[in-house]
């Protein structure tokens, strides 16, 4: 039977595909010195892809295609926007980074764009198969990108670890999906939801749900599926790490939210406790492990694990206490958006700082603010924002998180207290970085050229991030619109 296709709705995806092709062709024809054009194309393509989003947002209606397996609604729009903007910033970060070493620029941007395409698809997927394929498209290229610094053993190791664990999680995810399919006879979320309603909480259902959550948990690097994160983050090229910690994490969350809220709203009492546990574990273990890190990227890795925990808190709590999913959902999304902004900023700072110090060891960053106060200020802004200190964006994320937890229910109160304590602990290691940069005396001479300002694109990246961080912090309504998207999804239409 024929399916009518709304090409505007598919606009972003199509544009990205076009960009991909352009990049490949350019890479083919351009001589090495001109390869940076691929980067430019990628950046512009991403920017242009935002336009149809605008149009769709204005149109603001819900477009459902292929028996509702592919849907473009506000939720999808918001997330696609997030993915595109984040990718845009990552591209900006990559530019100088990739140029600075002998990388395959064309292929690099091609892979990143493919991954981006995957995440765009995921945002619209309302169907296990689409979701799965999208997820694979997000992850596949990253396995390779993680190893992009081919000469660097760490990088190789990173890609290897990421790959092995990735396929393991994929296998489990698929197993779960297959069970789900077997139980419900459907892959479409709405059908699954309908079918699950009839099922009793059989062990198989539990297993199906849990194995799927393992897959997503891997993506969002939730404890105990987080082991890969620190090593991979450390080994990969920093922009890729930024992408991992923002886009791919966000993708994982999208998958989780979609499945749990669209497909399994009726099985809430099965997955809610799991989420509760994952959230609590991720926050606590992530934070505690971060305390002793000496490498700034590993520190950010653990911090992103903990942050993932924070992101899970709202809907864990809401689900556990069976109340106000929509609210919780909004909280998670807002957290996701704000986290993306400030984490990208943090990584931009790491790139810039690493350029100056030629090191990722926090100790080597001591006294950085003396040579480059502006970078020092930015470090303070992003890391304190991650810690959730007003008036930086982070506070609103945490605020929303706490707000959604405040439900008179012992379990959620407990979670709230755990979160509160973790918020305090986390401050400790975020502050350690700032301390090193501002308060400590340099332990060694900074290498040559450390006075040089970061490249234009990187500066642009930093500028975007810092502007958003402060703006959202002072006028959070900017981020609050995400709530509508949440409402769309949580109310299920």
């Amino acid at each position: 039977m024929p399916y009518e296709i709304d090409y505007l709705a598919l606009g972003p995806e199509i544009i990205i595909v076009g960009t991909i092709i352009c990049v490949l062709l350019l890479d083919l024809v351009l001589p090495r010195p001109q390869k940076y054009w691929t980067a430019t194309v990628a950046v512009f393509g991403t920017a242009i892809a935002l336009l149809p989003l605008g149009a769709l947002a204005v149109r603001g209606e819900r477009i459902s295609m292929f028996d509702g397996s592919y849907v473009v609604d506000e939720f999808a729009l918001v997330l696609k926007g997030l993915f595109l903007v984040a990718a845009y910033v990552v591209f900006l970060q990559s530019h100088s980074y990739i140029e600075s070493d002998r990388y395959y620029q064309g292929e690099y941007y091609f892979l990143l764009l493919s991954s981006l395409l995957g995440s765009l698809v995921m945002a619209s997927s309302r169907d296990l198969i689409v979701l799965f394929v999208g997820l694979e498209l997000v992850t596949g290229p990253l396995y390779l990108l993680a190893g992009w610094r081919k000469g660097d053993l760490k990088s190789n190791e990173a890609s290897m670890k990421y790959f092995i664990l990735g396929v393991l999680s994929t296998a489990l995810l698929l197993y779960g999906m297959s069970l789900m399919f077997g139980l419900t006879g459907a892959v479409l979320f709405v059908d699954i939801a309908a079918a699950v309603e009839g099922l009793s909480a059989s062990p198989t259902l539990v297993m199906a749900i849990l194995f799927m959550m393992v897959g997503f948990g891997f993506k969002v690097s939730a404890v105990p599926f987080h082991f890969w994160a620190p090593d991979v983050y450390e080994g990969s090229p920093t922009p890729v790490t930024a992408y991992l910690s923002v886009n791919s994490k966000a993708a994982g969350f999208v998958a989780m939210l979609l499945v749990l809220y669209q497909a399994l709203p009726t099985a809430v009492d099965i997955w809610a406790p799991m989420l509760w546990l994952l959230a609590a574990l991720s926050m606590t273990i992530g934070n505690l492990s971060a305390l002793r890190q000496t490498n700034i990227v590993r520190l950010l890795a653990y911090s992103s694990i903990a942050q993932a925990g924070f992101m899970m808190v709202p809907f864990a709590a809401a689900a556990v206490s069976g109340s106000d999913l929509e609210n919780a959902f909004g909280a998670t999304l807002i957290y996701l958006v704000i986290f993306a902004v400030m984490n990208l900023g943090a990584f931009a700072v790491v790139i810039a700082g690493a350029n100056k110090t030629r090191s990722g060891e926090i100790a080597d960053w001591s006294g950085l603010a003396r040579v480059d106060p502006i970078l020092g200020v930015l470090t303070a802004i992003f890391f304190f924002s991650l810690a959730g200190i007003p008036p930086l964006a982070g506070w609103f994320a945490k605020f929303e998180m706490f707000r959604s937890v405040m439900i008179a229910d012992p379990a959620t109160i407990a979670l709230a207290v755990i979160a509160a304590l973790n918020a305090v602990v986390s401050l400790y290691y975020y502050a350690r970085v700032v301390k090193a940069v501002w308060l400590d005396d340099p332990i060694r001479e900074f290498p040559e050229g450390s006075e040089a300002a970061p490249s234009g694109s990187l500066r642009l990246a930093l500028g975007v991030s810092v502007a958003l961080t402060i703006a959202i912090g002072i006028y959070p309504s900017m981020a609050a619109f995400v709530r509508d998207a949440a409402q769309v999804l949580a109310t299920g239409n």
Binding site: F384, F402, R403, A420, A423, V424, S477
Partner: protein
């Protein structure tokens, strides 16, 4: 004045941070321009706040009626608004804040701790000012929280960058740490710990307000209305938990025993201006929070917590004073004295009477002026002697008579000498605790009164000890032949206003009471029902 009505507070709050931005554009080597700009901003802010005082209608009515009110939508999604305003309670504190900041800028004119960098320091000071002023005028819980937290960052950097670099053995840790680093992070963690729970409390209020009132709101006046109508004092432990959460937040800031241990370290480590601002204003945020938020919104809960607070307060008084007697470091002694004095403030609050609360407010102001001045002096002295060890000081009267004299004066003020500002707070919180709100255990509070009175003796004890160690006796041999420059003109400009104010308030406390008393009385009436001074005095009640 129309302009002032609408913009007065906003300017007072945000002018400093605008100034900070301005400074950002001035070259860091151009020290004079930096200082002048900073001073100008501080002065203007102070003047504007004076304008607010001028425009303030002291006669105006009952509690919860604020002036210079501005109420604009801010975060529509959660119905949090930019709602600011002053009443008799916050007015003195607001002015105190702008005033002290101004003096701090003047003082820092030629007192730059290492590493100098006036630009950064002034910027931080101004950001701090915004946070402080904002907290005193915020009428929206979220806004309050924001300002409450903004204060942390600048102070963290002040302590951490300009702080005391001598390594110290930290109990509980194996290796030596630089005092500044330890103190900075400790201060940060403690306060954040408190405020995290405070935030939980606020949120709980927000949701509960939705259940009991028209709509969920963070608006303090609205919540106060609800609280007064007993909306939050239903069955269940809701109120208890919320009050507890907020208690943590405020008590850390005050600080109340046993959450006080960040304070000595922070004060000792902080640069002079830092500890001045810390002691003079930041400590007040906590007690102000109690008066502005905890009491009116959860009156019944407050009443049931009162004895507990009173006990902690008294422990703080005695404990702080005793700890002072054991100090060898002048600045640390002064720091610990704050624990004692804030104990009196909290005791006043705990009585839940208008006398007590007035006592606590004037106590805050007095403590702000006096301890601020003490830290100024301590700073200037270690600036000259390059040590704060009292064992090495002594005979300062001989070397620097003027500074010694001012120190003596301030010490006397600090031990609550009648006729100086410090007296009223202590005396009246005793008055308050002699007959606290009806229903509160007389036993507890009268014991508290007696212990508090004994506390005044101990206070006198360590202040005299301080003078004896620092001011009197023969100068130790190591200062032979040193030339010490007595109080210079910046110090004088910064200190004389404080001295004058201390005396004025001492002999004419009206300057504070006229502002506070109506607001407080109506607060007490609104929150706890029934007027409470009426419970004083058989004659006046018609025997």
């Amino acid at each position: 004045m129309e302009w002032l009505e609408t913009w007065g507070l906003t300017v007072t709050v945000f002018l400093p941070i605008v100034g900070a931005l301005l400074l950002g554009f001035i070259n860091r080597d151009n020290e004079n321009a930096l200082k002048r700009t900073g001073l100008a901003v501080a002065v203007i802010t102070f003047v504007v706040s004076l304008g607010v005082v001028a425009g303030f209608d002291f006669g105006a009515g009952g509690y919860n009626s604020y002036q210079f009110e501005v109420n604009e939508t801010w975060i529509a999604a959660i119905n949090a608004n930019y709602h600011v305003g002053v009443d008799g309670i916050s007015l003195p504190l607001l002015v105190l804040s702008t005033f002290i900041v101004m003096l701090a800028v003047i003082y820092s004119w030629n007192h730059w701790e290492e590493p100098k960098n006036p630009k950064a320091f002034l910027i931080l000071t101004l950001i701090l000012a915004t946070g402080l002023n904002g907290t005193f005028v915020a009428l929206d819980l979220v806004l309050f929280f924001i300002f409450f937290e903004i204060v942390l960052l600048p102070m963290y950097f002040m302590i951490g960058i300009w702080g005391d670099k001598t390594p110290r053995k930290i109990p509980g840790f194996s290796k030596m740490h630089e005092t500044r680093l330890y103190a900075a992070i400790k201060f940060f963690l403690f306060t954040l710990f408190g405020s995290a729970f405070m935030l939980l409390g606020f949120l709980a209020l927000y949701f509960e307000s939705g259940n009991v009132g028209a709509e969920r709101t963070f608006d303090i006046p609205t919540l106060t209305e609800l609280g007064a109508s007993g909306a939050f004092s239903g069955p269940g432990n809701f109120a208890f938990l919320v009050f507890g959460a907020m208690f943590l937040g405020f008590a850390v800031k005050v600080p109340m025993w046993p959450l006080h241990t960040w304070l000595p370290d922070a004060h000792t480590a902080a640069p002079t201006v830092g500890s001045v601002l810390l002691a003079a204003i930041m400590l007040k945020l906590g007690s102000y929070g109690f008066i502005r938020i905890s009491l009116p919104i959860l009156p019944d809960e407050a009443v049931s917590w009162a004895p507990f607070i009173a006990i902690l307060a008294v422990i703080g008084i005695i404990y702080g004073s005793l700890a002072c007697l054991a100090q060898t470091d002048m600045k640390r002694l002064i720091a610990f004295s704050s624990v004692g004095h804030m104990g009196f403030v909290m005791l006043g609050i705990a009585t839940m009477t208008d006398v007590g609360i007035n006592a606590s407010i004037i106590g805050m102001v007095a403590h702000g002026l006096i301890t601020g001045l003490l830290f100024f002096i301590a700073g200037s002295m270690s600036h000259r002697y390059h040590t704060r060890e009292m064992a090495r000081l002594g005979g300062n009267m001989k070397l620097m008579p003027v500074m010694g004299g001012i120190l003596a004066f301030t010490a006397m003020a600090s031990l609550g000498l009648p006729g100086l500002a410090g007296f009223w707070g202590e005396f009246m919180s005793l008055v308050g605790s002699y007959n606290p709100l009806e229903g509160l255990s007389l036993g507890v509070f009268r014991t508290a009164m007696v212990l508090g009175a004994i506390g005044t003796v101990l206070t006198a004890g360590y202040m005299l000890y301080l003078l004896q160690q620092v001011n009197l006796g023969e100068p130790s041999a190591e200062w032979e032949g040193h030339q010490f420059h007595d109080v210079d003109r910046f110090e004088a400009t910064a200190w004389i206003p404080l001295i004058v104010l201390i005396v004025v308030i001492g002999f004419f406390p009206r300057v504070i009471f006229d502002s506070t008393t109506d607001a407080v009385t109506s607060l007490v009436e609104m929150a706890f029902g029934g007027e409470t001074t009426a419970s004083i005095g058989s004659l006046t009640r018609g025997g």
